[in-house]
């Protein structure tokens, strides 16, 4: 009988203790200790290095971005500088081309003038030679022309005509 009562009492006590809604104090103590330790570790030991690493990474990324931005700005500036230099060089080249063109034109005109002069000189020489040749031919032909004219006149007139007497008339005809 006593055993039965003790068993019932133990069962009731067990039921009361195992109510799943009520917290178990020893579990709560371990929970409090575990959480307090976790909080302390995270707050003072574990989280700061993680945040530091993250901040370092953010700083590195920012620095890299800044460097990239600076490099881009430098590239843009260098490109503008090159463009400026190129436009200067182009202007200089155009100026040189103009100068060369003007020089070439002057040279061409000079050469043309010289050629014209030479042509004129040669023409004058040729004219002189032609004149001289013509005069020489006139001189060399005159006796024969005089003879032929005297002969022709003799035949027309029926009497002899002296070639020397016809000289002035022949000169007049040949010079006209």
């Amino acid at each position: 009988m006593l055993l039965l009562l003790a068993a019932e009492a133990a069962e009731e006590a067990g039921e009361a203790a195992s109510n799943p809604i009520l917290p178990d104090m020893s579990e709560m103590v371990w929970g409090v200790l575990s959480f307090a330790l976790l909080y302390a570790l995270i707050n003072y030991v574990l989280l700061p290095p993680i945040l530091r690493a993250r901040n370092d990474r953010a700083a590195t990324i920012q620095a890299d971005r800044d460097a990239a931005e600076a490099a881009r700005a430098r590239a843009v500036s260098a490109s503008a500088e090159v463009d400026d230099q190129l436009s200067g060089v182009r202007a200089e080249a155009a100026e040189l081309v103009d100068e060369a063109r003007a020089e070439a034109e002057a040279e061409r005109q000079r050469l043309v003038a010289r050629a014209e002069r030479e042509v004129n000189a040669m023409q004058e020489i040729a004219d002189g030679e032609i004149e001289r040749e013509r005069e020489e031919a006139m001189v060399s032909l005159r006796p024969q022309v005089a003879d032929l004219a005297a002969d022709a006149a003799s035949r027309v007139m029926g009497r002899s005509v002296d070639a020397s007497a016809a000289g002035p008339a022949i000169d007049r005809v040949m010079n006209s």
Partner: protein, 250 residues
């Protein structure tokens, strides 16, 4: 009908002390899980490298930190709540790792399916947001709750009573019961399908295993999600309560 022997609830959630039996330091399975819920996140953070390019455990640690920062603190409190990151991160990790043991073989018991940890955490949250409210608003924190200035004078006693009850009783009670009940229900659900699988596996109802076992697997996956969700909700509500204490006018 199936000859199913469902274990009593005590067998599912009450664990005998393995050490210091009968004392306030009685060490049972729940105490072990609480310790592991502290040791595992601490180990993850401790052993994670702090490289410029995160890999492995560092991703896990930084992911947890960013989750609490961006999804808990900033929406619920704002940038001035970042000083509570260690507390809220600890709450999130402790609750999550206390929950996740629900699906870890051998343990298969969430520490928060017992009332001790949810109640302690809820009381801690109560103390924290009350302290913060008093620190940043002085006695006005209490008087504005008990005697709300924007409410018609005739209604103030009633609204004040309701606000007092809501702030100092229902908030912590809701926090504790939400976590505890969800985890206990999930645990019972898994046990139910586990028992069902064992029961049908040995008899002529064997083909039913094709239904019960996939359900057990699905529910296990679902409970992993619930473990995370409950930890997130607990941390988020803690942040909301802290935010309300910092900026009571909101």
């Amino acid at each position: 009908m199936f000859g199913l022997e469902y274990p009593p609830i005590d067998n599912l959630v009450v664990w005998p002390d393995a050490l210091f039996e009968g004392t306030i330091l009685g060490f049972n399975k729940i105490a072990l899980i609480s310790l592991l819920a502290m040791l595992i996140p601490a180990a993850i953070f401790f052993f994670s490298k702090k490289d410029l390019v995160p890999r492995g455990l560092q991703n896990v640690a930084e992911g947890a930190v960013e989750l609490v920062e961006k999804e808990v603190i900033l929406p619920a409190i704002g940038p001035d709540g970042l000083r509570y990151l260690p507390l809220l991160l600890s709450v999130f990790l402790f609750v999550f790792f206390g929950n996740i043991f629900e699906v870890i073989p051998v343990f298969q018991m969430p520490a928060n399916a017992r009332m001790a940890n949810p109640m302690f955490l809820a009381l801690m949250v109560l103390v924290v947001f009350t302290f913060i409210g008093f620190k940043y608003n002085g006695a006005k924190f209490f008087t504005d709750i008990a005697w709300p200035p924007d409410v018609p004078v005739g209604l103030r006693p009633l609204v004040g009573f309701i606000e007092l009850l809501s702030t100092f009783i229902l908030r912590p009670f809701g926090l504790a019961v939400r976590l505890f009940a969800n985890m206990l229900a999930g645990h019972i659900l898994l046990v139910t399908f586990g028992v069902l699988c064992i029961a049908v596996a040995s008899g002529w109802l064997f083909p039913l295993l094709a239904l019960t076992f996939p359900m057990l697997v699905l529910l296990t996956g679902f409970e992993i999600f619930v473990s995370f969700l409950q930890a997130f909700v607990f941390a988020l509500l803690t942040a909301v309560y802290i935010g309300l204490s910092l900026h009571p006018a909101h």
